[in-house]
């Protein structure tokens, strides 16, 4: 009502002003747009008045009911006081679970999902610091199925994670298969794994040393007894794009994102007696305390289900709940066996190295190598010996490790890498399951409503779409529907029955 005549008025006033100034023809009649680049020298009374009005209107708006302003200071970004599901950890697994929880239910408010992430910059998150590979060459049936399901998810990623009025997702997927090299001792294990992979429909082929030499002339075949090469659905992609795609989609479906750190729980406990006569404390989480970043303020979130997807810190979350603090020789004394392990990734430049045909090479000595871009850059690294694990308190890179351990092995396998230059390096955490290097998915028997989705020991990123769906099924349907992951349950740790994956990098 008020704005339209005003615009006209200012337009006219502008017209008169311009006529006074330069006597040239007038520009757009109905607009007050200025075509000159300089500012008005003369003070414009109308303009001033308009600015005053604008400031007044802003002030009035802020004081109106329904605005953010309130006389009591309220911290922004506090999580809601009540939620149905609280997911701890905003890595790719956490966001995938959040997405699938929303995806499986057909309405926005039927389930309130809050995701708590402690680091908004993701500077130490394992997701974004990983090498980003996906492979089917595992030895366990479940891991192969998870990879196949995740690959088919990535195939149709825009149908799953496309958001209205946003660009389509480009994962920058590079279709180069993994090339595993085995020595005499490992060859029979590779053959066994190959049989399982073929049975489940993964496209993998075995190569003899002669065939390997023919396919990849740059690889030195000394000591190699057998090689296996992935043909389809293997390669590497951009982890940050996948994480952001999950996050964008989950938030557009109504997941609450909250930046803060989980510092404690308020539980309700019940005593139970086993058939052996042991007394057990069965817990149920009632509140999750979420502390705001850079302050002491915290908000207890009342919730029904907690999902522990905290990756490398999930052992710490378990510790807060008192898992592993029980009397010795009982099941309550077994902690969550997930701990952070630091892994170094080195970027090397080697102009004579293998080109577009470079596979994701994994040598039996533990060294891996993949191409990065088209300019002769490569990413390499290896897992250190159990006794030589580096200190995990920070993410500093040990350059000696490359010189002493990685380079000799790499140059032995691919001789052109004798001439290389390290152009960069970084370190990231593995959420290392020290019990059997496999994921833990499922409820904890002693904490009634905490679901685990952690401990993937370096292949959490590639399995995240399928794991998210499995956990969502477990929460909403009470059982696994698509991929049976019941053998990944926490009970195997309590029973001390490891489920060993042989192809761990």
């Amino acid at each position: 009502m008020f704005s339209l005549p005003k615009v006209r008025f200012t337009g006219r006033s502008y017209k008169t002003l311009s006529l006074i100034n330069s006597h040239c023809c007038s520009f757009g009649v109905n607009s007050s747009r200025s075509f000159g680049t300089g500012r008005h020298v003369r003070k414009d009374f109308i303009q001033d008045l308009e600015n005053q009005f604008k400031a007044f209107r802003d002030k009035a708006k802020a004081a109106m009911p329904g605005s953010d302003w309130s006389p009591i200071q309220v911290t922004r970004g506090l999580p809601p006081e009540r939620a149905d599901v609280v997911i701890i950890g905003g890595g790719v697994i956490g966001w995938s679970i959040a997405y699938w929880l929303k995806r499986k239910l057909m309405s926005r408010d039927s389930l309130r999902v809050v995701l708590v992430e402690k680091d908004p910059t993701y500077s130490q998150a394992s997701t974004v610091l990983s090498a980003g590979g996906i492979r089917q060459q595992f030895s366990l049936k479940e891991n192969i199925q998870l990879s196949l399901a995740s690959a088919s998810f990535m195939k149709n990623i825009n149908e799953h994670l496309g958001v209205l009025n946003e660009d389509p997702i480009d994962l920058q997927f590079n279709h180069s298969g993994y090339l595993f090299l085995a020595n005499e001792a490992w060859a029979h294990i590779m053959e066994e794994s190959y049989a399982i992979q073929k049975e489940l429909g993964a496209e993998v082929t075995l190569l003899s040393p002669a065939q390997l030499k023919e396919r990849f002339p740059c690889v030195n075949t000394d000591g190699v007894a057998l090689a296996s090469l992935g043909l389809e659905n293997e390669g590497w992609f951009d982890p940050w794009t996948l994480l952001n795609a999950f996050r964008r989609k989950a938030m557009s479906m109504g997941v609450y994102q909250c930046f803060g750190e989980v510092t404690g729980f308020r539980c309700w406990t019940q005593n139970a007696e086993t058939t052996d006569g042991d007394l057990l404390n069965i817990k149920r989480i009632k509140y999750v305390n979420v502390q705001m970043p850079n302050s002491l303020e915290y908000q207890p979130v009342e919730c029904a289900v907690v999902v522990n997807a905290a990756g490398a810190s999930s052992g710490k979350i378990g510790d807060m709940l008192g898992i592993g603090h029980g009397p010795k020789t009982s099941v309550a004394a077994i902690p969550v066996p997930v701990e952070p392990r630091k892994r170094f990734v080195y970027v090397v430049h080697c102009p004579d190295g293998p080109g577009l045909e470079c596979p994701f090479l994994i040598d039996y000595s533990g060294v891996y190598l993949r191409r990065e871009g088209l300019g002769g850059n490569y990413i390499t690294g290896m897992s250190p010996e159990e006794s030589e694990e580096p200190d995990c308190s920070n993410l500093d890179v040990d350059h000696e490790f490359f010189q002493e351990k990685i380079w000799p092995r790499l140059a032995h396998r691919i001789p052109v890498f004798e001439n290389l230059k390290v152009s960069g390096a970084w370190a990231g955490f593995y959420d290392y399951n020290s019990f059997d290097q496999n994921g833990i998915v499922g409820l904890h028997p002693l904490v009634n409503n905490m679901y685990f989705a952690t401990g993937f020991s370096g292949h959490g990123l590639q399995h995240s779409p399928a794991v998210g769906r499995a956990v969502a099924e477990l929460i909403l349907d009470g059982r696994f529907k698509t991929i049976d992951m019941s053998s990944f349950d926490f009970r195997r740790i309590l029973r001390q029955e490891p489920m060993l994956e042989k192809n761990i990098v």
Binding site: C25, F27, G28, V29, N30, K102, M106, S107, R108, K155, E159, G162, L164, N165, Q172, F173, N174, H175, S176, E203, R215, L231, E232, N233, G235, S252, M253, G254, G355, L356, E357, L374
Partner: protein, 257 residues
């Protein structure tokens, strides 16, 4: 009002390009009114997500229907007939091994079913240019282990996952034409390394491939026995002509003048 404005615009002829430019700039960025309303609704109702998914489902219906897996035909008539049928359904053409005649559809998409009578002959050449084939549709052709030549020129649905699946023809495929496919990137071209028998490969005019000259060289290195048709080697390179250091030849020329 509008007429008078138009009249004024005609009078100030120099103004017209100015206004249209301004309008175009404005129109390119913000969403249309429909999607604006949709976005507003999306913030309140999750159902909008399902509507969008349903809309996409309808949009992709044609692609899906064309790329169906003909399980029934395979069981009843054998794999070769099913493959031939799927090609003609897509609107492509093919040639059986040992024959010179091509089977193709007419302008209305009709075709003769003569190939049903020869269930044992395998397909040697397939031309699927400008059809809607995607990696799901490739499933019908997997059985053709004598395929020598495949052309998917200008197919909008051919992507990197399609190329990754071509490894099934690695023993026989000699000619492959991928030109003008809008969705192929470098990541997919790396998967062609499994095609060891390839003798001719066309990768020209792939809009998603940055620095096509470099990619051309890399593909030639990857497939040493193959003739690669693609961009010139220097395409995509930014050769800086100005503000370069004067070379010896330049200084010599200056000295002469």
């Amino acid at each position: 009002m509008a007429a008078s404005m138009l009249f004024q615009m005609r009078r100030h002829c120099s103004l017209v390009p100015c206004l249209t430019v301004a309008k175009r700039q404005y129109a390119s960025n913000p969403p249309s009114l429909f999607s604006k309303v949709f976005l507003q609704l999306n913030q309140r109702f999750l159902e909008v997500e399902y509507l969008i998914r349903l809309g996409n489902w309808f949009k992709n219906r044609d692609v899906r229907r064309k790329n169906l897996f003909y399980d029934y035909a395979q069981k009843k008539y054998g794999v070769n007939v099913a493959a031939a049928y799927s090609i003609l359904k897509l609107g492509g053409a093919f040639r059986f091994a040992g024959q010179t005649e091509w089977f193709c559809t007419d302008s209305k998409g009709k075709f003769s079913f003569d190939f049903v009578n020869t269930p044992d002959s395998t397909i040697e050449e397939i031309d699927l240019s400008r059809t809607l084939i995607n990696q799901a549709g490739l499933h019908n052709l997997m059985s053709q282990r004598k395929l020598r030549s495949l052309s998917v020129q200008g197919c909008p649905e051919v992507d990197d996952w399609f190329l990754a699946r071509l490894h099934v023809f690695s023993e026989t495929l000699q000619e492959l034409n991928l030109s003008h496919c809008p969705r192929i990137t470098v990541g997919g071209l790396a998967a062609l390394q499994h095609l060891r028998q390839l003798q001719q490969l066309d990768i020209s005019s792939l809009p998603q491939v940055q620095s096509p000259g470099l990619v051309h060289i890399l593909v030639e290195e990857m497939l040493p026995h193959c003739k690669v048709i693609g961009a010139e080697y220097d395409q995509g390179l930014q050769i800086q002509t100005d503000n370069r250091e004067p070379t010896d030849a330049d200084s010599l020329r200056h000295a002469q003048t």
